[in-house]
């Protein structure tokens, strides 16, 4: 019964998302594309934060590297889009393996600080290695070629690109969800609650943290690979530490305890940003107030609060 209602809601949401280009203006097609990409970014972050209990302040490094990998591949190699996305994931996963190797051995605030430090280093490299990254201007002027799989899609068309993003984010989310529900995912939740007990059950906690970190990095890279063609540029802002704050805010806003929380958070974040900036400059102030209220009164985030309320009503 409960699952049926949830599945019905999910089906309606998915149908609504598929229908967006036929009912919404170009403006909202862009908005929803951004929500999906940032939602995947935030969901990948939540594998590390909400599930494994590691607060990373450097997750934008993987997002940004994914976007640079996409731009570089499109400029220099002209690979099909799907293959380029795999390059984005691969580049981000490799970077996550290197950064994670050093970070996962630290706990809590030290972990957070080291991920922040690595994130700043990656930003500095992108900003200063002009011959490859084109410095502060970033990489632009790449053109989208074929999609891959022999499909003939006009990726330059925002409505088409939206559907491509929806399909890829959908598939990636299912994979991430399965990982969260797997035995491995169960171990990650156990590590968040009590890492020492997990090691006394015979598992090397560091290895599990590292694998989670790399998976999260790869999916952040995928999100980055999707954002570069959308923005038509891969720029250092995508790697900036303030970009690392976004998935944290989105995850907390939506609810870190639920798989879909970060997606809800991303939707609320982007929509609020759009609406509030249309009539005031102080979007950050409003966002600050909302976040403060969430953290003080609704710790479980929007989705968590709604689910709790619903359970209460059904009793």
């Amino acid at each position: 019964m409960k699952t049926r209602i949830l599945l019905a809601i999910l089906a309606v949401v998915i149908a609504g998302l598929i229908a967006v280009p036929w009912v919404a203006s170009y403006f909202y097609i862009f908005i929803f594309t951004e929500i999906l990409i940032l939602g995947l970014f935030a969901a990948s972050f939540n594998l590390v934060f909400g599930y494994t209990g590691m607060l990373s302040f450097g997750h934008a490094a993987f997002f940004g590297v994914g976007s640079y990998a996409m731009a570089l591949v499109l400029i220099h190699l002209e690979w099909p889009f799907l293959i380029s996305l795999l390059a984005s994931m691969g580049a981000a996963a490799l970077l996550a393996l290197i950064i994670g190797f050093f970070c996962v051995r630290l706990n809590e605030v030290y972990f957070a600080m080291l991920t922040l430090a690595f994130g700043m280093m990656v930003f500095a490299i992108a900003y200063q290695w002009r011959s490859v990254t084109n410095g502060s201007d970033g990489l632009a002027g790449f053109s989208l070629g074929s999609f891959g799989l022999g499909l003939d899609l006009t990726l330059g068309n925002p409505a088409v690109y939206y559907h491509v993003v929806l399909a890829i984010v959908g598939v990636a989310s299912v994979i991430l969800y399965v990982i969260c529900r797997s035995s491995f995912g169960m171990i990650l939740r156990a590590i968040r609650q009590n890492p020492e007990r997990v090691s006394f059950a015979g598992l090397n906690v560091r290895t599990y943290r590292l694998v989670a970190f790399v998976i999260a990095g790869a999916f952040a890279g995928l999100a980055g690979g999707l954002i570069a063609p959308f923005l038509r540029v891969a720029s250092p802002e995508l790697l900036h530490w303030s970009m690392s704050a976004e998935p944290i805010l989105m995850a907390i806003l939506g609810g870190t305890g639920y798989f879909l929380g970060p997606f809800i958070g991303a939707a609320v974040f982007v929509l609020l940003e759009t609406w509030i900036t249309s009539f005031t400059e102080s979007w950050m102030l409003v966002l600050g107030v909302i976040l403060a209220l969430m953290v003080i009164f609704f710790r479980k985030g929007l989705l968590g609060t709604v689910v709790d309320w619903w359970m209460e009503v059904r009793k």
Partner: protein, 259 residues
């Protein structure tokens, strides 16, 4: 003659100038239950921490089934067959009672490396978890969140988790600490039945003398990090120095816990 499961030689731990455990030797034979007793600060938990890999010994060696495990990290020692409980509750509070056991079983069976199964459909692990909970008499609590069950039930859950790795050697650290008299009786009976089943080899630290004398085949008495005496429960009961040091016939020096 059978070989010991565990051979401890000259095990020593120093913290700065303090010696918490000093030159302990012990052979543990298969299927026997050894109790380690001694006042607070006698070094029992430090001793456990060294055997289970939580602390590096300063000196000495720990040999499990002929393999030197001295100073290995906890997860490796657990893999090799030593499983321990803790004095304070050490569970996964936000998971159900059954999931707590399933985590350990997944680790033991190598399912923890599976990224693309659905954990909640893993019927083999679930059945095994329920059987373990039945053995501890808490299977009626399987669907409860672990943080909400009673203190005594949490301790039983911990024992279920400790047994889930099918250990060659089980270290229980004060299994009845903080329990009500009723819970203590229930737990003692349970550990006794597990010990009598011949499936396990136990090392148990305990404060409650009735529990100790009810359970142990042999007793190691520790005092200020050193072995004071080792023997059968009868011998320990009748040993004058042990009586003086620990069993209530106090002299003025034993009540200081300065170690």
């Amino acid at each position: 003659m059978t070989n010991p499961v565990l051979t401890i030689s000259n095990l020593t731990k120093r913290f700065g100038g303090n010696t918490a455990v000093s030159g302990i030797n012990l052979d543990v034979m298969p299927k026997e239950t050894i109790a380690i007793i001694g006042p607070n600060g006698a070094g029992k938990t430090t001793f456990y921490n060294m055997v289970s890999g939580r602390m590096q010994p300063s000196e000495g060696s720990v040999v499990l089934d002929g393999k030197d495990i001295t100073g290995l990290p906890p997860h490796k020692i657990s893999r090799l067959g030593v499983s321990r409980s803790f004095q304070i509750n050490n569970i996964f509070p936000e998971m159900t009672v059954q999931e707590n056991v399933e985590v350990v079983l997944s680790a033991y069976h190598g399912h923890s490396r599976k990224l693309f199964n659905i954990a909640s459909r893993n019927t083999g692990i679930q059945q095994e978890a329920i059987e373990l909970l039945k053995r501890l008499g808490i299977d009626n609590l399987k669907a409860q969140r672990a943080e909400v069950i009673s203190y005594g039930d949490k301790r039983l859950l911990e024992i279920a988790m400790v047994l889930a790795t099918r250990p060659k050697l089980v270290l229980l650290d004060e299994p009845t600490a903080g329990m009500t008299p009723d819970e203590t009786r229930r737990t003692t009976k349970l550990v006794k039945s597990l010990a009598d089943s011949g499936d396990y080899t136990f090392l148990v630290t305990e404060h409650d003398m009735d529990v100790v004398f009810g359970l142990a085949d042999r007793i190691l008495v520790m005092h200020r990090g050193e072995k004071l005496f080792a023997g059968t429960p009868e011998e320990v009961k009748n040993h004058p120095e042990v009586r003086r040091a620990y069993l209530g016939e106090e002299d003025d020096e034993t009540e200081e816990s300065n170690v």
